[in-house]
């Protein structure tokens, strides 16, 4: 496997040619915020939080999760401009739906909330859209709450790529998009859903939760995904 050399934050580093920039950056121990990315799932470059500046190309912004490393590439992971953009992204996400952290089942464990705190988002500069969105509690074990959804599509990908059921899809366009079950049926009546709960565990917010969860009670565990993928792809069946 060939190796390329690139510059990350003024440090020369080497990476494997097939790696993404995100993988190479994280291998260096550098923290880069992400929301739609999840180890074990394909990348889609949706949330744009992992944008980095290509300093050898007019500081052009590229999403690190879907950009492959290249020989001679020079990138920067932190700048005032990047921080500002990342904060704007979080603020836009918060303004699009009804993210009422104080009464959310994921309060204190939410990736969106944690990132907002990490990036110093202490207010939202945009007008809240306040959409009137329903909850779907028709499933026997789980609840879907569109109000908390950030359209990261981890649920769509894990169901299609790992479980193989493809229960979830996306309906509509832009901010009006909704994650739907079985071509827009109540989740409980979906015939494709196996009830495995993988979508619930990978969801970064309170959009998908276990039924009966009360405020701040939902905690999600992602490590099952690494276990399944290592077993399936590398035949390593070791729960770590």
């Amino acid at each position: 496997m060939s190796v390329v050399t690139l510059t990350i934050n003024d440090e020369l580093v080497s990476a494997q040619a097939e790696q993404t920039l995100l993988e190479a950056i994280r291998e260096q121990g550098i923290d880069l915020p992400t929301l739609c990315h999840m180890d074990g799932l394909s990348d889609k470059g949706g949330c744009r939080l992992c944008m980095v500046e290509m300093t050898n190309n007019n500081n052009r912004l590229v999403p690190a999760c879907v950009t492959k490393v290249q020989e001679g590439q020079s990138i920067r992971t932190e700048s005032d401009k990047l921080t500002n953009y990342r904060k704007m992204i979080i603020e836009l996400l918060l303004s699009e739906r009804n993210h009422i952290c104080a009464v959310c089942v994921m309060n204190g464990h939410c990736e969106l909330q944690n990132l907002a705190a990490h990036l110093g988002v202490n207010h939202v500069r945009y007008e809240y859209v306040v959409p009137d969105l329903p909850m779907d509690a028709s499933h026997e074990r789980f609840v879907q709450d569109h109000n908390r959804c950030i359209l990261c599509m981890r649920c769509v990908r894990v169901c299609h790529e790992v479980e193989g059921a493809h229960n979830w899809d996306v309906m509509g366009r832009g901010v009006n998009s909704l994650v739907i079950a079985d071509l827009n049926k109540p989740w409980g009546s979906s015939r494709s859903c196996t009830g495995c709960g993988k979508c619930v565990q990978v969801c970064p917010t309170g959009a998908l939760s276990k039924k009966g969860s009360t405020v701040a009670e939902m905690v999600k565990h992602h490590d099952f995904l690494g276990w399944i993928m290592n077993g399936r792809e590398k035949n390593i069946w070791e729960y770590r």
């Binding site: 009464v103 089942v105 329903p134 509690a137 009360t214 405020v215």
Partner: protein, 479 residues
């Protein structure tokens, strides 16, 4: 020329309100109104949410008494699940509820009302608050603050935090009480005795000092309503509703919480966001169905308290009225509040000594079994009802909340009117006169939302209007 005096905002209460006093040509009071000027909208925006979330959401109605909403909401959730919660969970909920009543009553008595009682109704407004009290008598203020702290600490130990703990849930509670935490509560309890004794000393002095006010501060007949236990004892968590009239006759006995709509009607007036509940059989017209809830009402409806010292205190309390009638004077809400603190301290002590209290089975599991859930609890300010209608998935379709303060709305208006008539002279308005009117509201300790006003200021705003709306005179303080 008729005039209107506006007290806006009413200070040292929980929430936002104003009082208008209408004067005739001679400066005499003709009409008064207590307006609640904030709108919350919980009954509307909870629609579409899951009933599992309701304790967490409705606790946000108030930062002072979130526990009351947690109790009523979780009990409505229990009813939807159709479960009997584990006995330990019920006892733990009761302990938190008693802790809540202690902290809220201590806040009302020491932080909000005692400046009037100790410094006088006409004292310097800039000093007439808890900070002024600390300067004047730091030891007394410290005891008041510590008593409230005890209640807050009990809530914090059980629920993880003192404000909006999401610990009470449909089916029980989320975490059991550890042996260490039980012992912490027991240790803290041992200190509280002298604090409550001090509170009673302040109260007895106030009764001596304000003999005139005692007779004019909301002295009128009304109905009284509250929960009582199975044997007629003082009850704050469960039980059945009892209504008595001013003669002590029981009009209702054994009303199960889910039947509250049979006896409570809710009227609306265009000049206030607070609804006007009334006792349905007597009607709304002319205040016939006016009833009072809260500490005074609870002591009036129960047969006995149920703990040693509180029983004795209740016996003394009832000597106020001859012929064994209910105590009808609103000023004695303060007295009733202190007796309830004493009762709650004794009940906490009794309950934490029950070995079952550290049992770890504290949550019953179930799903939606009923489509309507009604929960009731006695909040510090009176009976609180939560009623939820859900679909088969547990999504809320309709919410009705009957808040204690609302049930005192008619009585608060009457109290304000009586005090204004006795003390407000339109020909020479003083701040002290208007403070008496405000104190009339403070006696009910109304909880109009989640916030109290900043201390150290008296943002009193009085305006005199001519009939055509022209401002004739204006007095603004503390700004």
């Amino acid at each position: 020329m008729t005039r209107t005096v506006i007290i806006d905002p009413v200070t040292r209460i929980e929430g936002h309100a104003k009082i208008s006093i209408h004067l005739d040509d001679a400066g005499k009071v003709t009409d008064t109104r207590f307006h609640v000027t904030e709108f919350r909208g919980f009954e509307k925006f909870c629609v579409g949410r899951s009933f599992w979330e309701m304790p967490g959401i409705t606790a946000r109605i108030c930062g002072i008494c979130p526990v009351s909403h947690l109790m009523a909401s979780a009990k409505a959730g229990d009813a939807i699940l159709g479960v009997k919660i584990p006995p330990t969970a019920e006892k733990l909920r009761r302990i938190m509820n008693w802790g809540q009543i202690i902290q809220s009553h201590a806040l009302s008595f020491f932080h909000l009302s005692s400046p009037d009682l100790i410094m006088g109704m006409d004292s310097e407004p800039a000093q007439r608050n808890i900070m002024g009290l600390i300067q004047q008598d730091s030891e007394l203020a410290r005891k008041g603050i510590r008593l409230r702290q005890f209640g807050q600490d009990v809530i914090r130990i059980l629920g993880g935090k003192s404000i909006h703990p999401a610990w009470t849930v449909p089916g029980g509670v989320r975490e059991p009480l550890s042996v260490q935490n039980r012992d912490r509560i027991a240790t803290m309890l041992s200190e509280t005795s002298s604090w409550i004794d001090t509170a009673f000393d302040v109260l007895y002095d106030a009764h001596e000092k304000f003999q005139g006010e005692v007779g004019n501060y909301g002295e009128f007949p009304s109905l009284f309503a509250g929960l009582v236990g199975p044997d007629g004892e003082l009850e704050h968590y469960d039980g059945q509703w009892r209504v008595v009239n001013s003669e002590g006759k029981r009009l209702e006995e054994g009303i199960a919480p889910e039947r509250y709509r049979d006896v409570i009607g809710e009227a609306v007036e265009p000049w206030s966001y607070l609804k006007f509940p009334y006792y349905k059989p007597l009607g709304y017209a002319n205040g016939a169905g006016m009833y009072r809830v809260g500490p005074l009402a609870r002591l009036n409806v129960c047969d006995f308290a149920g703990t040693r010292r509180a029983n004795r205190a209740l016996h003394e309390f009832r000597r106020i009225m001859k012929q064994a009638k209910p105590v009808s004077n609103t000023f004695y809400y303060h007295y009733a509040r202190l007796i309830e603190i004493l009762f709650c301290l004794e009940k906490i002590e009794e309950t934490i000594n029950d070995p079952i209290i550290v049992d770890t089975h504290v949550r019953s599991q179930a799903n939606v079994n009923q489509l309507v859930g009604i929960g009731v609890s006695e909040a510090p300010r009176g009976t609180l009802f939560h009623e939820y209608h859900i679909d088969e998935q547990g999504i809320i379709k309709e919410v009705n909340l009957v808040i204690a303060t609302g049930q005192n709305n008619l009585a608060m208006n009457k109290t304000v009117h009586q005090i204004a008539q006795a003390y407000v002279d339109g020909t020479k308005l003083t701040e002290g006169m208007l403070n008496r009117v405000e104190h009339g509201i403070r006696m009910y300790d109304p909880c109009l939302s989640c916030s109290t006003h900043a201390v150290g200021q008296m943002p009193l705003h009085i305006q005199l209007f001519s009939p055509d709306g022209e401002v004739l005179d204006e007095l603004v303080q503390g700004k």
